[in-house]
């Protein structure tokens, strides 16, 4: 048994914002009550004093790359989930662009087996939409669903053609799975290494316009209207894409989207030939960042997702245009959200918690709340603790973070999964 006492419980599902004690037993929540008012027997419970801390439902990351199988020199399920736990995440959805691609049930089962051995945070695999994510034939989506995938995506690239996207959407609708799209018109983005703009022109780096993303979002929104499938736009970065999502939502279409901490924190002007600032979609314009924050506040953006994308130093320490896309995300996500969204006064703390919990849960079609009989997954964090992120101390195998040495106010203090404290500061 674990008693978490004196914490400020923030539960978006029930709109609770109150001091409460929470009693966990085994993998479930047993009871929550005003401090000192628990009725269940808890004499032998281990006690976690959460005074001055926020107790939230377990954070879910909809978008991460754990690199296993195939690229274990950059990350493994074990190192990735340890990093996730440090970031306060109790569950991570891992993208299928591994080697081999997670496009069949045996790879899905391998990932889940490895996750079980690692005994870290929950791992919820995302299956490929097409075989090898090559955009030709539909992957074994039903078999993967049976094995445990929670969504499909060809992340790293979009589902290649409108026709295949339509077919995947129709199939996924029948299987009740969301289709997560990496929205990119590959012809507009060909050869580009950052967002097109004054900075790309100054630096002589090939840029992709915002339209490289929004053209694909527009395509997929239209196909959602055609098929009725649940479309989730991954790592949305452009104002124009957000306008497409808003339009879809106004029409009542089942379209959702996520934003990453780096896109609501950094902009293209921050790029200075440092490959730690290179990711796809690339850092966008100032007004895109502003639009994202507005969307996070007004509900147009449904979730914060990290797009944690480890690349070992040997891959990343090269010429900017030769470096792979992607940066680490787990351990700085909460601190960046607090810094950029909450401390800045743009979002309430409750809204931010929603974006890490009930927001992503709804996209996956599940509930996330602090209530008796619910899974004992909790994220306990501080909004005031001052600390400096040191990427060299990360359990991740990679070091590609632009936030190394940044000082933050607010941090994950404990990550509890199935009643076990997996991480404690």
């Amino acid at each position: 048994m674990l008693l978490i006492k004196n914490g400020r419980v923030l539960d978006p599902a029930s709109k609770t914002d109150a001091a409460e004690d929470i009693l966990l037993d085994g993998e479930k929540i047993v009871e929550l009550a005003a401090p000192g008012k628990l009725t269940s027997d808890h004499k032998n419970a281990e006690v976690f004093d959460a005074a001055g801390l926020i107790v939230a439902p377990g954070f879910i990351d909809l978008h991460a790359h754990l690199r296993e199988p195939g690229q274990e020199s950059s990350e493994t399920i074990e190192t990735g989930t340890r990093s996730a736990a440090r970031g306060g995440f109790t569950a991570v959805c891992c993208m299928p662009n591994t080697k081999p691609v997670n496009d069949n049930a045996s790879v899905t089962r391998f990932i889940l087996d490895r996750a079980k051995t690692a005994a870290g945070v929950r791992v919820w695999p995302i299956g490929a939409a097409s075989v090898g994510s090559k955009g030709e034939a539909i992957a074994e989506i039903a078999a993967m669903k049976e094995a445990g995938i929670v969504a499909v995506s060809d992340d790293g690239k979009p589902i290649a053609t409108a026709k295949l996207t339509r077919q995947v959407m129709e199939y996924c609708r029948s299987l009740d799975l969301p289709v997560i799209e990496h929205s990119e018109d590959v012809s507009l983005a060909a050869g580009a290494v950052m967002r097109e703009g004054v900075t790309s022109s100054r630096l002589g780096l090939r840029g992709m316009p915002a339209a490289a993303e929004s053209v694909c979002v527009a395509r997929d929104v239209q196909l959602t209207e055609l098929t009725g499938a649940r479309l989730h736009v991954a790592h949305l970065s452009a104002k124009a894409s957000l306008e497409q999502v808003r339009w879809a939502k106004q029409r009542g279409l089942p379209v959702t989207c996520e934003a990453t901490p780096h896109h609501f924190t950094l902009i293209d002007e921050d790029v200075q030939y440092d490959s730690r600032y290179k990711m796809n979609p690339p850092l966008a314009a100032r007004e895109d960042r502003e639009a994202l924050i507005t969307g996070l506040a007004d509900g147009s953006v449904d979730a914060i997702a990290t797009d944690h994308a480890p690349h070992e130093p040997a891959l990343k320490d090269v010429e900017f245009d030769k470096a792979p896309f992607g940066i680490l995300g787990f351990e700085t996500a909460l601190a960046l959200a607090l810094e950029q969204l909450v401390h800045s006064g743009r979002l309430s703390l409750m809204r931010m918690v929603e974006l890490f919990t009930t927001g992503p849960a709804r996209i996956l079609g599940i509930e996330r709340k602090i209530a008796p009989h619910e899974p004992a997954d909790l994220t306990i964090f501080s909004t005031t603790h001052e600390w400096t992120y040191k990427v060299n101390q990360s359990p991740s195998k990679s070091r590609n973070s632009p936030f190394d040495a940044r000082t933050f106010k607010g941090a994950p203090i404990a990550t509890i999964v199935a009643g076990r404290i997996l991480y404690k500061m």
């Binding site: 097109e196 022109s201 100054r202 630096l203 002589g204 090939r206 040997a314 010429e319 900017f320 245009d321």
Partner: protein, 344 residues
């Protein structure tokens, strides 16, 4: 003043004062080029590594000649023969070169920012001899030197740049240098090659406008910089040579739209009959061969400054370090104050 940068990676971060200093430092080396004996001992015992990861003939020879005329030795790495073909990373390659203890690395690379990346990892001065579509600082300096010699100044000129601006490192270096002296820029070429963002790449207050009609772009021009139509490099999208000639070739008739003594510069190598007609290329307004000669002077100055770190008030790099007492006529002609032949 002393040059405050360890490396020369770009002209963008340099102030007008620093740029003028670099041009002034090139003066004595310009004079050397006219001497019968051109070799100094200034950098005797020093080694300059030339790493050209992208094909180059004139810039490589120019830097090599500059090093040699300063008395330095060179080591050469050429892309075709290098271990990069065998899969070695850029960082490993330059660190290997560095382990052979050169005093300076001159590098050209097809990736924008490559010199910047290498400089962050090496402890010796790095000179960018062209990085992707970013900058070509020594070209910007030699162009400015050429203009200053011919027109007597580089301030407040109307500069028209023709061609594929988007992919031109020469254009960027020119804008970042001349822009700091109040020059106004007119960029002209096929619209796809001259994106709107280029109007904002200069320092605050630098006037850059796009004009798509060549005749209009040439009006009132003091300087016309013709960029090469790079057949080996991908212009995106490419347009036909016929279309290019029709719209943007600099010929004698069009040149008459510019000021009467407007200068024509070209970074070379030229495609005669494509971006420029032979008549203009060989005409009195053309500066192309002076540019080449000045290139060696500028590069000698850069190597000298970055390797020796000499202050302005230090000994004259030219006359103070002769290998042997020079003949009387040479000493006179290498005197810093002797600028009588500055514009021949």
């Amino acid at each position: 003043m002393t040059f405050r940068f360890r490396d020369l990676l770009a002209l963008e971060p340099l102030s007008a004062e620093e740029l003028a200093f670099l041009l002034d430092q090139s003066r004595p080396f310009q004079t050397i080029q006219r001497n019968p004996l051109k070799k100094l001992a200034t950098l005797r015992g020093k080694t300059v590594a030339l790493a050209f990861f992208e094909n180059s003939t004139r810039t490589r020879i120019s830097f090599g000649t500059a090093a040699s005329r300063l008395g330095a030795d060179t080591m050469n790495l050429q892309a075709e023969a290098s271990s990069l073909k065998k899969g070695e990373s850029l960082l490993d390659t330059v660190q290997t070169l560095n382990a052979m203890k050169p005093d300076c690395l001159v590098m050209r690379h097809a990736s924008s920012g490559a010199a910047d990346f290498v400089a962050r990892h090496l402890d010796i001065p790095v000179i960018n001899a062209g990085d992707g579509t970013h900058e070509h600082p020594s070209q910007g300096l030699l162009d400015a030197l050429t203009i200053r010699d011919r027109l007597g100044k580089i301030d407040n000129l109307n500069v028209t740049i023709l061609g594929d601006l988007q992919h031109s490192r020469v254009a960027r270096s020119n804008i970042h240098l001349l822009g700091k002296f109040g020059c106004r820029f007119t960029l002209c070429g096929p619209a796809m090659w001259v994106p709107e963002e280029l109007e904002k790449i200069g320092a605050p207050g630098v006037s850059i406008r796009r004009v798509f009609r060549l005749e209009e772009a040439l009006e009132d021009a003091d300087v016309i910089l013709v960029l090469r139509v790079q057949t080996e490099r991908m212009h995106e999208p490419s347009i036909s040579n016929e279309d290019y000639v029709l719209g943007y070739q600099l010929n004698a008739e069009r040149l008459r739209r510019a000021k009467p003594n407007a200068l024509v510069l070209h970074p070379g190598p030229m495609n005669r009959g494509s971006e420029i007609t032979p008549e203009v290329a060989d005409g009195p307004q053309s500066c192309v061969l002076e540019q080449v000669t000045n290139g060696i002077a500028v590069r000698m100055a850069l190597l000298y400054l970055l390797i020796s770190g000499a202050p302005e008030d230090g000994p004259d790099p030219v006359s103070a370090t002769k290998e042997e007492p020079p003949p009387e006529r040479n000493r006179r002609s290498t005197d810093k104050k002797d600028l009588s032949h500055a514009s021949d």
